[in-house]
Every structure is written in structure tokens, then in C-alpha cells.
Symmetry: C2
Subunit: 317 residues, 2 copies
Amino acid sequence: MSNKVKTVLAVDLGGTKLLIGEVTKNGEILNKKKFFSDVTSQERALNSIKEAIVTYWNNGCIGEVIAIGISAVGRINIQDATWYEINPKISEPINLRTELKDITKLPIFAANDVNCATIAEKILGDGKNVDDFIYINFGTGIAAGIVQGKKLLFGSTYNSGEVGHMVVDYDSSTQCICGRYGCVEPLASGLGISERAKELIDKYPSTNLKEDQNGRIGLPELIKAYEDNDPIAQTVLNRATQAAACLIMNLVYTTDPKKVILGGGMLNGGWFIKHIKEYLNDEAMRFVTDGLEVTNLNPNEIALKGAAMLALKEGKV
Amino acid sequence: MSNKVKTVLAVDLGGTKLLIGEVTKNGEILNKKKFFSDVTSQERALNSIKEAIVTYWNNGCIGEVIAIGISAVGRINIQDATWYEINPKISEPINLRTELKDITKLPIFAANDVNCATIAEKILGDGKNVDDFIYINFGTGIAAGIVQGKKLLFGSTYNSGEVGHMVVDYDSSTQCICGRYGCVEPLASGLGISERAKELIDKYPSTNLKEDQNGRIGLPELIKAYEDNDPIAQTVLNRATQAAACLIMNLVYTTDPKKVILGGGMLNGGWFIKHIKEYLNDEAMRFVTDGLEVTNLNPNEIALKGAAMLALKEGKV
């Protein structure tokens, strides 16, 4: 019998990077390695995952690896580890369990990135002591995980929690990639605020805001401009925080959580939550007795840890 | 041993009437009786329930009554039958199990009216063969029941599904009783469309619309006026159907149901659903593989039947 600590080899495939690491049952990351990821197709994304696992595995693991847990962007069936799609418009179902089993012969579990983050909250984070909570990720996009009666909800097709496509402003002229107008994602996500700011640049020649080398205007730049009374930043961020608050309260009325936990890049530094709170209505929040807070887990590692916890619980989350 | 059919004595307390009846396990109503209800306070409402049960019980029951099931407006804990409140601003918790036990000595179960309607759908209606569905009631107010993995969700304080307070139009000048602006309830509920139409009467002196003896402008009158090109009716009903469609799609993205079932007085006659469908987006509805439909259960009896089913399942729904 091995004296080594039992670990899960966890993979977190994001839009631009892939993180792989060994995680203990307490959520400690013993070692990790970062790769670039290619998610321009599911096949290429699968190759990114395969390469990462082969490389890590062949270099030798620290602990006794007992399972593999995978977090990935897109829609994933946690029962059988079928990864339906990254982009809803191109569905090419891939069974990750079948595709990856020969590398290590270990049991394989997989879930969508926001579901994995919610699992991490539930087992390691601030969702540990409540039966009912929601985790909302405000990052490049927006999505949520809903936990009721200690169970994470997946919906009938593993598509629940796609709350970035909740319309909060149906008279808006801002169209979302989903086709509807006034969704919260193009108003309050990282990509959304960048796009909204860029749309306004021609109207306000006095602004100092400009795109970075990736064609984006990031939250830190917008916050700085906001504090300097830049009209674009004020318009975009006031709308973003209002839309985010509206989404939170809409979800509270729908799911009645005891606690609301926010995560994702938009929450870095505390500015976004502080301004969201200005728009919260006491009546709407009255049953959220354990409050609204930002995750205490490291946003760069939350999905990796969640993928590991999913594998340790054998998908029973 | 009694040869009588086993029944539940079910009570449905609404805003203006109370229905009591004996329901079999197949959902057949053997006998029923209607009373006026007084819901101006919880105590008066409790007296309405007591009187109805005493009267019915003393007149003799048809079957062998094995339990009592109560559906009532407001927030109710189905575990212990505590009725927290009718109006969220005045909470006077009453334990219905304790208060009513001496009348019949039978076990007592209780849930909120929309939860009862959802239970009826789940056991007797179109939710019978799906694991995940949502039932949305468009009546005087708007609320929903969410069933996932065959379980009805209640939230942390029996307040889930209060989706009438989902903001769909945050720039709206229409304020809801909850304090927020642009909630779907004041735009798309029976009371809401009446209020919206009344607000416009002074602006359109040419309209034939007028309040009925209760100070309301009902959906049938508005539909008739709409078809006669009345500008008030067109403004109000186009907005109502758009807001209703928006709510449905927002809930679909949040909970990922296989089927959406609509009920409540607004659905009578088929006009409302036909016009809602004009606003539905294929992308948003693509996973609702079992479709959007109006309940097949009689809207006047759905909560009564649900209360009976709740009692038969001993609250395990």
C-alpha cells in the first residue's frame, strides 16, 4: 500500500489557458502546471487536455492519483462525462471518459467550469455550511451555479445557470450573442463592458480610454477612468453594476438562497461588489440571511479545485 | 375496515374565495363547496379555513378521509405547516397543524398555492413524465414552481419561485409593490394589466375601455379592445406578452427545464399564450424539448388537487 497522499489529477480548461494540478481531498494543490489552450474547436481543445495529462503523468506525480477531474468551458453531462459543445452553435459531443481512459486507466469525471467553481464553494468554500446558495461568476462571461438542499442543480440538459442570458432590460438596443436584447452578459461581463466602452469611444473624443493590445478595455482601466470622471467609464460601469445587482436579485427571488457568493475576474479588487451593493433592495435581499459576498477561494484555482472535488465525490454533488 | 374510498379533505384559500373538497388519490373531486374568504389578516384567513373544515366535516364526508391538505396564498413551510405570512410586510407565523388538529385529528399538510398547483402538475398533469419542468402561474399575480430531478424546490425560506418580482425592464418607470422598477408582475399579471390600462385612460379619451364594478379592467375586455385596435389595449397587451415571454426565457436559461407549463387566469381562452409565442426566441427555447403549453388541469381546481396530493405524499414532493 502506498504511503503517498491520495490526490486527484485535476484539469481546468479555460478560453486561453489550461491549468493541470494535483489536488488533495482538503483542496490543497500540491503541484500545478499551466499550458496554453486551444478552444477554437472541441477536437483541438480535447488535444490540449490530452497533452496536458500525458505530460503531467509522464513527469511523475507527487501523490497517489486516484481519479481525474476535468473542468471545461461549455456544456457537460456529469453523469457520463459527455462534453456536448463549447459553442452552442456547433455541438460535437465527445465522451471525455472514453477519450482519455487509456492515458492513466483512472476513473474520469467532468463538469462545466462554473459548475466546478460552485462545487468548490460547496465543499471547500463559503457554501460549506449552507444548504441553499448560489454562486455567480462575473468573468469574461456570466453564469451561475444553484445549490438547493445541498445538491447542485444541472437542469434537464446540463444547461442550467446560463444566467448571462437573463434579460434585465428588454428595451435595450444592446444585442447579445444569443440573439436577445438586454441580456446581462453584454452589460456586466468583462467582455461586455469592454464592448460597451468601445462603442462609445467615437462619441466622446475627450476620453483617455483606449483598447489594449488584445483589443480590450479592461475593468482596471475602466475603474481608473470612472474615478477620474470619464463619462464613458461612468456610463458603462453604472450600467454594469446596476445590471449585476438586478441579476442577483432576480436569482434571489427565483431560487431563495441563504447566501449569494460572487466570483470571477470582475470581482477582483472589491470595486464591483461595492457598487453592486448600492443597487440592492432590502426587500429583495431580506431572506439572504447569510449575505452577499465575494468568494474566499483563489479565482485562478477555484475551478481546478472543484474538478478535483467532483472526482472525489464521484460526480455525486 | 371501511369500504369507503380513501380521500383527502383539501382546502384552497385564495384571495377572495375558499374552496374545500374531497379528493381521491387519482385526483378526482368527489364533492366540493365554495366559501367566501377573508384574507385581510392571517387570523381572519385562519378562521375562514377553520369554518370551512368544521362545516364540511360536520355535514359528513363521502369517503374515508385520511388527511387534510391546505393550499393558501403566502409563504408556507411544508415541513411543519407553518404559515409565515400572506403579506411579506406583516409576518404573523401560524402553525396550521397545531391550529387545526382538534377539528378532525387527521394529519395536516400545507403549502403555498403555486407550489400546490405545481404539485398537481407533477402528479396528475403534464409534468408527470418529465424530471425537470417549470410551472408558471399568470393570474392576479405571477409566481412559479420549479421541479428539478422530480423534486419541487422550495428555497431556504419557502420563498422560491417568486418570479413576479423578476425585473425584465430595469429602465421602466413602472414601480412594483416590492419597490423595484420593471418587475414582470405589474406588466404581465391580471392586476398589472388592469393597472397599466387604467394609467393610460386619461391620455386616450377615445378609448371605450372602462373599469368594471370592482375597479378592474379585465383581460377579456382588453383582448376585445386589442382586436378593435384600441391603442391602450395594444400598448398594454403587447408589453404584457413581451414581458411574459421574457420571464419564461429567463427562467429557461436559469433552470433548464424539459417542459414549461403555464397556468392561471391570464391563460384562459388561448389568446395570451398565442401572443407570448410570437416573442419566443428559438435559441432560448432549444432545450425545452417537451415544449411550452397551457395546463390541462382545470385552473379552478388545480391548487385544491395539489393540496390533496401534497397530503397523500405526506409532504414528500
